[in-house]
Symmetry: C2
Subunit: 96 residues, 2 copies
Amino acid sequence: MDILVTYDVNTLTKPGRARLRRIAKICEGHGQRVQFSVFECTVSEAQMETLRLRLRTTMSAEEDNLRIYLLRGRREDVVEAYGKDSYVDFQDLLIA
Amino acid sequence: MDILVTYDVNTLTKPGRARLRRIAKICEGHGQRVQFSVFECTVSEAQMETLRLRLRTTMSAEEDNLRIYLLRGRREDVVEAYGKDSYVDFQDLLIA
């Protein structure tokens, strides 16, 4: 399933920046960073459990906000992107 | 329909911060800010057209990245939130 992970953290502090780096590393194992603190991932149900656990143990529950959105349907039907885009469709690259 | 708007902008510059403020103001007319640059909105199809146009004419296509995600299904089934949460369910507040 496709999910979106968004992470709100105070990047003015060194520990905050470190947590964002760790969150990014975890997410990038399942997808890619599309914005500074937004990650599009594809996971199985089992992977989702593990991912959720890793993210929750990495974040600061007191200082940060983590959101996971379930994206239902084909990618092209549920995502619109405008402007400077860093998204790369690895699936397309592999097929091409 | 429920949508998610995520906005990537360089907030180290004054014009960047001003654009984020304008984007936030537009989005808050249809929902609420749940993270620094993430907005959960509910719009009709007609409102979606207008919102998309307003966002696209406000953003910098060269410097920023705007993404709109369509959220399908009941809110409680598609959103998980952890940590310091700023989300307020106005629907619940109105009912209570």
